[in-house]
Amino acid sequence: MLKEDSPNAPVDPALPFTDGTGQRAVLRIQSNPMTAAVCVGGLLVPGLGHLLLQRWKRGGLLLASVVLMFVMGLQMEGALASPPNSSELLSFKTLNAFANVGVGLPYLIAMGEGYGEGVATSPTADYGWLFLVVAGLLNYLVVLDAFDIARGRKP
């Protein structure tokens, strides 16, 4: 629920209001350094942005969901894309790597430990690849959600 979607939201975002379901909501705008920390932290560790904003349950569930999806993708022998070199920038591999990098530190750890090689002949390799890609893309959405909360657009 964005603030603009709620007809009860006050002009001053610091004032409490009731949302569409009658729940009391308060929009707390964070400072710019805190917003930057939320975004960077969320990009490094899924859900960390919400945890920094003291959204404990949301952050925990998001952390568990995204990391579990990433680990299951590795377990299903999906392949991680390494960052493209200069001759590969305009290729599908760039999009693949962008999606994979979105999950943050788990991607770096998996690449460092050699878990992202994948097994092309495995019957679950395609599913694993999909899990790895979607885990990264979901984390980008999670970071955008944390940004909205930090800027007072969402309770």
Binding site: R58, M72, Y127, V134, K154
Partner: protein, 57 residues
């Protein structure tokens, strides 16, 4: 995990949890929306699977 259906259910469950949390504010709304998205994922996969069933390729 070597069952495609189990992979589908797991995928739908994890994605619906994330979608519900980031799009809705209250726990009640999140649960309702999460269940809806989960069922929509599973139903869409089954329907599309049956539509593709007679295809020879």
């Amino acid at each position: 995990m070597h069952s495609h259906f189990a992979a589908l259910i797991t995928f739908a469950l994890l994605v619906s949890v994330v979608f519900a949390i980031i799009t809705k504010s209250t726990p009640r709304e999140q649960v309702q929306y999460g269940v809806f998205v989960f069922l929509a994922f599973v139903a869409a996969a089954l329907v599309i699977g049956w539509i593709m069933y007679p295809f020879p390729f």
